[in-house]
Amino acid sequence: MNITFIIASFVAVLATIMAITRYNLIHALLYLVISFLSIAIVFFVLGAPFVAALEIIVYAGAIVVLIIFVIMMLNLKEESVEQERIWFSRKVILGPSILSIVLLGELIYILLSHETTALTTQAVDAKSVGLSLYGPYIIGVELSGLLLMSGVVGAYHLGRQKKKVQHRFLENQTT
């Protein structure tokens, strides 16, 4: 088993746990970024450099930046850290952590029992990703396009404001 793969996946698991357990949201998101970066390395080691680059550009570079952007606009202070601490009680995390520990045990068992198939050495380049996205998986691309479209429409609807009109006949018109 490749040592880079093991280190990167270990960092990914650790960073994700830290991301869940931080009370301060920005610190949690920073750990999430580290988790995305290490997953990108995992993809790279598994022979998918194109997906690795997209993982960084899209997830770490764009989506988390947008989340941080929203958090900065909300301007959360100490109250929110306190709120997080109350929500994050032992009772709440008991169920999820038992399930995750079961999964982690399975992962460690798989890693230790050398029965896995060898890492694929064949690199998947951008061309084959494109061919399979616009070939057999075209329905998935179209559906996610529709989902994004509905998101845009919803955001437009939420952001639309009624213009204040002083004129008595034009009162009920919206723009």
């Binding site: 920005i26 770490a60 930046v65």
Partner: protein, 321 residues
């Protein structure tokens, strides 16, 4: 160690040393050129042509008090200036300066550059947020919006070049320009990339995240000493990065008439664009924030999509005929 390893190490450290030496020199170059264009002298006292002012500036930054405000988020505050330098220096890994002079030839070189430039946005966001200061926060929110938007056009404007080459590797892209530079068939892409590049490095006229006249210094208001110095050096290495990317992608990289070595051609083209960046600073006023966003989403985005569609259509037509 064998010869290949030694030469590779030499290239790696040579590129690193070159960048870190030229970046402070650019500060002197910028001040002298701005002075020239504004009809005054600029720094001309210390040493030949005032070159020693670079040394004085660096020493000054080192000896200034390195102050962390008590209301700041300390860990993030320290982390933020490092991110910009790390990401910009990492981007230089994929840039081919001359045949054989490249740190790592990746087959996803261009995507690596885009990924690193999108990670660079964190420096502004975290720096502004952790300062816990309203001007810094305003600056970093502007910076986040600006960088995310202009990354989109930057990526789209490059895709024309990728379509014509058929590869993301920067060496392949340079070699495809042996007979014709991509600035001719991809002129629209070149202009969009240059504008988006200026916005990515948040240089004047797009230095809206730091806008001195409105936001004091924007996201780095609270920084002093060498932490401020890192933001400063990161900005200048960023200028060099965008200039070298324009050279590689649109001006044929190291290709040129053979009376000069390839590396010299690369450096001449790169410095041409650095001079252009400084000339922009000397001549253009800063747009308003909403004007910048409107310009991006309403003009640059449709234009770059149009460029992509037309390029793709022509390539498809040429392949079938």
């Amino acid at each position: 160690m064998d010869d290949a390893t030694i030469s590779h190490l030499l290239i790696t450290f040579g590129v690193l040393a070159g960048l870190l030496l030229v970046a402070p020199g650019l500060i002197w170059l910028e001040r002298r050129l701005l002075a020239l264009w504004q009809d005054r002298y600029g720094p001309n006292r210390a040493g030949p042509f005032g070159l020693l002012v670079v040394l004085a500036d660096t020493l000054k930054l080192f000896f200034k008090e390195d102050w962390i405000p008590p209301f700041a988020d300390k860990k993030v505050f320290v982390l933020a200036p490092a991110i910009v330098v790390i990401t910009v220096l990492l981007s230089f890994v994929v840039i081919p300066f001359a045949p054989g002079i490249i740190v790592a030839d990746m087959n996803i070189g261009l995507l690596f550059f885009l990924a690193m430039s999108s990670m660079g946005a964190y420096s502004i966001i975290l720096g502004g947020w952790s300062s816990n200061n309203k001007y810094a926060l305003l600056g970093s929110m502007r910076g986040a919006a600006q960088l995310i938007s202009y990354e989109v056009f930057m990526g789209l404007s490059l895709m024309g070049v990728v379509l014509m080459t058929g590869s993301f590797s920067l060496i392949d892209i340079v070699e495809a320009q042996r007979y014709q530079w991509f600035i001719v068939p991809q002129f629209l892409g070149f202009v969009i990339f240059l504008i988006a590049g200026i916005a990515e490095t948040h240089r004047l006229p797009f230095d809206i995240p730091e806008a001195e006249s409105e936001l004091i210094a924007g996201f780095h208001s609270e920084y002093s000493g060498m932490k401020f110095g890192l933001f400063f050096v990161g900005e200048y290495i960023g200028i060099m990065l965008i200039s070298s990317m324009v050279t590689v992608l649109f001006l044929g990289g190291w290709y040129g008439p053979s009376f000069l070595p390839p590396l010299a051609w690369f450096i001449i083209k790169m410095f041409g664009f650095i001079f252009f960046f400084i000339l922009l600073r000397a001549s253009l006023p800063r747009p308003r924030y909403d004007q910048l966003m409107e310009f991006g989403w309403k003009i640059l985005l449709p234009l770059s999509l149009l460029n992509l569609v037309v390029t793709g259509g022509i390539i498809l037509w040429m392949n079938t005929h």
